[in-house]
Structures are given as structure tokens and as C-alpha cells.
């Protein structure tokens, strides 16, 4: 082949491949326009203000198509599929309690997206900001509104790197003090300090006493439920195979996702409730694999997200293992119930 021919072949191929790539980008970018238009049959939009002190409301991230996609949105807790009141605040993950919210956001930078956590007051004004070192995963505010926690996935940085780790941070909202990673806490097992290799923490949940929390600790290929103490900066291993714990409002039970043997590797979890006094585990009526940190709507009902047509849908199931799951709301994630 002559040089001229080779250059022509290359130029022709590059033109075709560039057209394919451009078409793919345009197709994906047209998706943005489609998703910014509300769909017929989608949730109704109500006008009003969203506050974190409005009793009997559920505040969540709405993923419904339309101009308010990904905004914090409020609905009456008694009518979760009713008209949605948008707030104008965009979050990836969210949680709130006692008039305080934590919202994990993407920040579009010149090179790549970065992430941050913002603390919101009752009127959704930002009171504090923190950098988040990876892709946000879980968010929680303590029942008192004095503490918040979040988990991020930190990806590998080598060529085709496949190693991931998690970073769980806890912040004292009152003083602003940030505990950047729970890895700085001492790990105790059977009364002795355990030098845990490859520690990973995620899924923090707080008790009402502003001192106790629970979380998942993964080490040596196993996950554990840990009891944390914010004063002594220790975590104590309680039991194995517990992920994303969620403490009930009365502090007696923990809802969690459990890896059940025999399930496919991509959908390995079932929702369980652990009674902290008796140590008994109760499987819930939801038979699908749930990859979420459930929230307690009240002392008898758990709410969690499952993949849906527009991102995710919210479901509710009784916490005592009876009944059946029921869909609360479509196109919604990260709910917080304001009692």
C-alpha cells in the first residue's frame, strides 16, 4: 500500500469513527433534554417551600423527569405519591433529622467532578461544607441533629485499577469538627485491640444519645456490625455479616442488609432486623435484594429504595417480618421522614 493510500484509508476511517462517536455523544446529550421535560403521568408539582421542620412530611431526592429532577422534594408522609414540592437544592444523597439536613452533592470542576457534603439548616441554607473524597454513597444525621455521617467510594487510580475502598466520615455539626475517616478509631474485638488489615467502614447510623453509633466494618473479606463510641474514639465488633445498619427510633433494633448464601453475586442481600437485646435476626417480607441503608418511617415500618424506571423507587415493609412490601413512591431516593 502506498503512503497516500494508507493516509486516505486512515482519514476515511477516522471520519466514520468520529461520526459514530459524535452520534453517541449527541444521543446521550439529547437524553438530557428529554429528561428535563416532565413526562405525562409523572408526579404532580406543587408550589410551596420545603423546610426540614414541617411535621408529617417526607423529604427526598426526586429523580422524576422534568425541570426539578434530582432536587430535594417534599411530600406529605401520609400521601407519598401525591404532589411534590421542589426545593431547588440538588443532592445525590440526603438525610435529615431535627431540622438539620446533610446533602451530598457533585461539584462540576474543570477536570472532573468532585463531591462535597453540605450541612443544611431547617430552611435549606448551607451552614457548613466539607470535601468528600469519592463518590457519595450513604448519608445520615443523628436524631438530635448534632452529628452527621457520610460514606464515599474511593476508586483505584492505576491502569484499569479495580481496587475500591470506602471512606466513612463523621462531623460534629455543632463545632464543625470533622472526623475524616473512621479508620482513625481503635477497633476492639473481645476486649482487645484488633489490628485490622484493610479496614473499610460504611453505613453509619446514630443513637439518640449523641455518643453511640453503629456502622459496618469490613476487614479480611468479612463484614461486621460495630458499636462506635464518639467519646473514646473506639469501635467494638459486635457480630458478623451486617451491612448498612439503621437504628430504630427507640434504639432497640437495627435494620440491615445481610449477605445470604446461595444468592447471585450481583444481588446477594436480604433485609433483616436485629433485636439488640435478644440478638435475634428476623428476615423481612421483601424477597428482592436490597442495596440500601433503610430508614425507619416509624417504629414499625422500614423504607428503602430499589432500582426503578427513573432511577429508583421507594418501598415500605413492616419491621417484624410480617406483611408484604408496598411501593410508596416512584422516582425517589434518600428519604427522610420528619415526624
Amino acid at each position: 500500500m502506498t503512503l497516500r493510500l494508507r493516509v486516505l484509508v486512515l482519514a476515511g476511517s477516522v471520519a466514520v469513527l468520529a461520526a459514530v462517536a459524535l452520534a453517541a455523544v449527541l444521543h446521550a446529550s439529547a437524553r438530557a433534554d428529554r429528561r428535563d421535560r416532565a413526562r405525562p403521568g409523572g408526579p404532580e408539582i406543587a408550589s410551596g417551600r420545603v423546610t426540614l421542620t414541617a411535621h408529617g412530611t417526607m423529604v427526598f431526592r426526586s429523580t422524576a423527569w422534568g425541570p426539578h429532577r434530582d432536587e430535594l422534594t417534599a411530600v406529605p408522609a401520609a400521601d407519598p405519591s401525591g404532589p411534590r414540592t421542589p426545593s431547588g437544592v440538588t443532592c445525590l444523597r440526603f438525610h435529615a433529622a431535627a431540622g438539620t439536613g446533610v446533602c451530598l452533592q457533585a461539584v462540576h470542576g474543570p477536570v472532573s467532578d468532585t463531591y462535597r457534603a453540605v450541612v443544611l439548616d431547617a430552611h435549606l441554607h448551607v451552614t457548613r461544607r466539607y470535601d468528600v473524597p469519592g463518590i457519595p454513597s450513604r448519608a445520615r444525621v443523628s436524631p438530635s441533629g448534632h452529628w452527621a455521617a457520610w460514606t464515599a467510594f474511593v476508586g483505584g487510580d492505576s491502569y484499569a485499577g479495580t481496587g475500591f475502598s470506602t471512606r466513612a466520615a463523621i462531623v460534629n455539626i455543632v463545632t464543625g469538627e470533622l472526623i475524616g475517616s473512621l479508620e482513625s478509631f481503635r477497633v476492639v474485638e473481645d476486649g482487645r485491640t484488633r489490628h485490622a488489615p484493610d479496614r473499610n467502614f460504611w453505613g453509619v447510623t446514630f443513637a439518640p444519645d449523641d455518643r453511640t453509633f453503629y456502622a459496618t466494618l469490613a476487614t479480611g473479606g468479612r463484614t461486621h456490625l460495630v458499636h462506635g463510641d464518639l467519646r473514646t474514639r473506639t469501635v467494638t465488633i459486635l457480630r458478623a455479616n451486617v451491612e448498612c445498619p439503621s437504628l430504630s427510633p427507640d434504639g432497640t433494633r437495627i435494620a440491615f442488609k445481610k449477605r445470604v448464601p446461595g444468592l447471585p453475586a450481583d444481588a446477594p442481600w436480604r433485609l433483616y432486623v436485629l433485636d439488640l437485646r435478644t440478638g435475634r435476626e428476623t428476615p423481612l417480607a421483601e424477597r428482592r435484594s436490597v442495596d440500601d441503608q433503610a430508614v425507619w418511617k416509624d417504629t414499625r415500618t422500614l423504607v428503602y429504595a430499589l432500582p426503578g424506571d427513573y432511577g429508583a423507587d421507594l418501598y415500605a415493609v413492616p419491621s417484624d417480618g410480617t406483611g408484604a412490601p408496598r411501593r410508596l413512591s416512584t422516582a425517589a431516593v434518600s428519604p427522610a421522614f420528619l415526624p
Binding site: M1, T2, L3, R6, V9, L10, S13, V14, L17, A18, V20, A21, A24, V25, H27, A28, S29, R31, A32, R35, L92, H108, V111, S112, D113, T114, R116, D131, V132, P133, G134, I135, S137, F153, V154, G155, G156, D157, S158, Y159, A160, G161, T162, G163, F164, S165, T166, G180, H195, A196, P197, D198, N200, A218, G221, A265, D266, D291, P307, A312
Partner: protein, 460 residues
């Protein structure tokens, strides 16, 4: 020492691999066209692969809603497989018939085909398999590609040739994430667009290789396998007559009889390590690899010991890459002038300095920059330079196998190091683990300084 290219006295056969040919009287070409073509292929391929790498964590977590923990569990098994693939690629490429190009091309093609597969793989297991296939392609192509670079450059400019190639490669790695995040910015959940575009880019890379990297029938075993009688002045390859046509011409039969030891059989490849020179370099690469803390640990140490804020964490690899990009060519040229082994060892000196800075109790604002500069400099002084140094010790007919042996030794040693370092970190904490690595690096470097005896090296 083997000096495969010092064919003083024998009329050199026309290079089938596009060695630097410059007509008498013309200014010496900066870098062989083949090296530029391979550099372009690597640049384009790295844009493509880094596009995927940059968005993969986000895609798994935000796009697919998967929990990516435990994803790296198979890394250990995979590293062993990858080593085998690398050696196989190196050996296959040596088996004559201009296979370097086609083995490398197969590797590039395999990786390119993995991109559209990502569009249909929606669960962790298939995605893991696609990534494994991608890395198999990378393992296959590396040694034949480096052998092509080595065979197509004159011995006295090999450091520069590898430097140019590595700089182009790194430039691609820097551009890839920019392209990927630009696509994500102008789209919504545009991962499909990223993967499609990444495939198109990779296909261009394969095309450039097929169209512009000369393959052709490789010359039969032309390399003398016995030690040269004189020091290598190696001017023969650079005074070859210009090739009449741009397409590679079949090589004329060599005037020298084929030497059995250099015939590209599996046994010859396995026997390479009996050669003192290659063994020396491989052992050094291995020992130094055992004391080379993996990048992710360096960035973690930077963050923990020097207090680099979280929001800069993702940008730390860019610092290393930028320094690598800027220093690869100058250090490659320096290696040609003062000796490759010397620069290779000096590169580890830079790494030693980086470790020392990480250990220092003084925390100035410039310290992270200095560490990243030294870290990038370490790569610039060692990555391509090691290949240039190893090239001197392997006959042409076994070049790809020989380079594969060195690369594999180094890769396995680095993998072992990251396991050991991880364990040491857990047991003793980051400072002690780093202190141990620093000491190990200093000892290994000293040992290599003596055993490689750079003074004996024939600098061009």
C-alpha cells in the same frame, strides 16, 4: 555483553522494522518513524483506556448502582495470569515472520473490542471479565511493542526513542480523563457515549498500528549472540541505505550464519536468563521492584503524612503523570549519553528522595509538589530506560521475549511489594512501613549499583 546491534564488519541487512534510516549527508532523524507511529498508537490507546478507567468507579456506583467493594479480590490471581500472558506475548512475537506487529496488534485489538462489551455488561462478574480481557490485551502487546521500538532505533538513541514513546503514552493518559469527563458533562448518564467514543478512539489506534507500523517478514536471526570483540560504537544501523519504498521490503538473507542460541525457540527464550547481562538487569529490576511502593500507597502517604486535602486526592496521579511526561524525553536522552543503567539507578535515587521527603517531619507547602516531581521523575528515568538498557543484553531475535522477562519480573515484584507494604502498614503503621521500604530500596539500589557496575557500560 550482547550488543546485538554492533554488527561491525558485517553488512547490515535492511531493517524490516523501520530502523532509523537516514541518507548520508542528511541531518539525523530525531526518532525513527516507527517509534513515532508506535507512540501515536500508544497515545491514542491510552486516551481510550483512560477514558474508561476514569469513569468506571462512577459508572459502577452511580450508573449501575453496584457496590464495587471486593472488586479487586481477584487481582492476585489475575496478576499471575497477566505475567504468563506477557511472557507468551513476548515469545510469540519473536517467532519470526514480522510477528511483533501482529501480536501487538492483536493485543490492541482485543482491548479495543472490550469497550463495546462494557455497553452490555451490567453486572460485576461480566464487567470483571471484560476488564480482565482488556488487561490481557495490554499484557500481550507490551513486550512486542517495546521490542519494535528497540529494534527500530539505533542503539545510541534508544533511550531517547523510549523516552519519546513514554511521553506520548503519558500524554494520552492525561487526555483520556479530560475527554471522558467532557462527555459526561455535556450528556446525562453518558456512560454509553463514553464507552462508544472510547471504542472509536481505540479503533483509530489499531488502524494507525496496522497502517503505519511496518511489519513485514522479520529478518532471520541476524544478531550475533557472542560477545562483541570491540566496544560498541554501533554506527552500522544508522548508516543503512535508505529504503526505496515506504513499505517494508523483505530482508535479504543475512551474511552471518544463524547462531543457534539466538533462534527464537521457547528453549532459547527460557535460556535467556543464563546470560549474565540480562540476568543482572532482571534481578535488579526485581529487587528494586520489591522496594517500589505502589502508586496508590504513595498518594495515600502524601495525603496522610503531608496533609494533602481530600479534594486534591484525585488529582495526585496527574502530578506524577505530568512530571513523567515532561521528563521522559530529556532523561531518555541523558540515558543515551551517560548510560542507561546509571540513569535507571538515579531514577531509584529520585524515588528514595521522594520516600525521604514523605518521612521528613518538615511539612512545607511545596513538599507535595516535590514528591510528585520526584515520583514522575522516577518513572521517566526507569520505565523506558530499563527497556533501553535491557535491549542491549538481548539478541534481536529474542528481543521481545527478553523484554517480557524483565517486565514480568518487575511487575511481579511490584505486586509482591504492594502486598507486603499493605501488611506492614497494617502491622506497624504508615511511617514504619515506609521506613522499611526506604531502607529496602536503599539496600537494593546499593546492591544494584555494585552488580550493574555502570562504569562498564558503553555509553554511546
Amino acid at each position: 555483553m550482547y550488543v546485538a546491534d554492533s554488527r561491525a564488519g558485517t553488512p547490515a541487512p535492511a531493517s524490516a522494522d523501520g530502523a532509523v534510516r537516514h541518507p548520508a549527508g542528511r541531518r539525523r532523524a530525531a526518532v525513527a518513524p516507527t517509534v513515532l507511529a508506535l507512540g501515536t498508537v500508544s497515545l491514542i490507546t491510552d486516551v481510550s483506556s483512560e477514558m474508561v478507567t476514569a469513569v468506571l468507579p462512577l459508572y459502577l456506583v452511580a450508573g449501575l448502582g453496584l457496590s464495587p467493594l471486593g472488586f479487586g479480590l481477584l487481582d492476585g490471581i489475575y496478576n499471575g495470569f497477566s505475567a504468563a500472558v506477557r511472557l507468551a506475548g513476548g515469545h510469540l512475537a519473536d517467532r519470526g515472520g514480522g510477528r511483533h506487529k501482529w501480536v501487538a496488534g492483536f493485543g490492541y485489538g482485543l482491548s479495543a473490542l472490550c469497550r463495546p462489551l462494557l455497553l452490555v455488561a451490567h453486572a460485576l462478574t461480566p464487567i470483571g471479565l471484560v476488564l480482565a480481557a482488556d488487561r490481557t490485551g495490554k499484557g500481550l502487546r507490551t513486550a512486542p511493542r517495546d521490542a519494535l521500538i528497540s529494534l527500530s532505533s539505533s542503539p545510541e538513541s534508544r533511550g531517547r526513542a523510549f523516552g519519546v514513546h513514554r511521553a506520548m503514552d503519558t500524554a494520552g493518559a492525561l487526555l483520556g480523563p479530560l475527554a471522558a469527563f467532557w462527555i459526561l458533562r455535556v450528556t446525562v448518564d453518558g456512560y454509553d457515549a463514553v464507552f462508544t467514543a472510547s471504542f472509536c478512539v481505540a479503533a483509530v489506534g489499531v488502524l494507525v498500528l496496522v497502517l503505519f507500523v511496518p511489519g513485514g517478514p522479520a529478518r532471520p536471526t541476524a544478531a550475533p549472540a557472542q560477545p562483541p570483540t570491540s566496544t560498541s560504537t554501533s554506527t552500522s544501523t544508522s548508516t543503512q541505505p535508505p529504503a526505496p519504498s515506504p513499505s517494508p521490503s523483505p530482508a535479504p538473507a543475512p551474511s552471518s550464519a544463524p547462531i543457534p542460541a539466538a533462534r527464537p525457540t521457547l528453549r532459547a527464550a527460557a535460556g535467556l536468563l543464563r546470560g549474565r547481562e540480562l540476568r543482572g538487569i532482571t534481578v535488579c529490576a526485581l529487587l528494586l521492584g520489591l522496594a517500589t511502593v505502589s502508586d496508590s500507597f504513595v498518594y495515600l502517604l502524601l495525603q496522610r503524612r503531608l496533609g494533602v486535602p481530600d479534594r486534591w486526592f484525585a488529582l495526585l496521579p496527574l502530578g506524577t503523570a505530568a512530571a513523567f511526561l515532561l521528563l521522559a524525553v530529556p532523561l531518555g536522552r541523558l540515558a543515551d549519553r551517560v548510560g542507561r543503567r546509571r540513569v535507571f539507578l538515579a531514577g531509584h535515587g529520585a524515588l528514595l528522595a521522594a520516600y525521604t521527603l514523605l518521612l521528613a517531619s518538615w511539612h512545607g507547602p511545596a513538599l507535595p509538589y516535590a514528591v510528585l516531581l520526584l515520583h514522575g521523575g522516577f518513572y521517566a528515568a526507569t520505565d523506558g530506560v530499563l527497556m533501553a538498557a535491557a535491549s542491549e543484553t538481548v539478541p534481536e531475535s529474542l528481543r521481545s521475549s527478553g523484554l517480557a522477562v524483565v517486565q514480568t519480573g518487575q511487575a511481579l515484584a511490584r505486586f509482591a511489594c504492594s502486598m507486603l507494604f499493605g501488611a506492614a502498614w497494617t502491622l506497624w503503621g504508615d511511617r514504619t512501613a515506609l521506613l522499611a521500604s526506604t531502607a529496602a530500596l536503599a539496600v537494593c539500589a546499593a546492591w544494584c549499583f555494585v552488580s550493574l557496575r555502570p562504569a562498564r557500560e558503553t555509553a554511546a
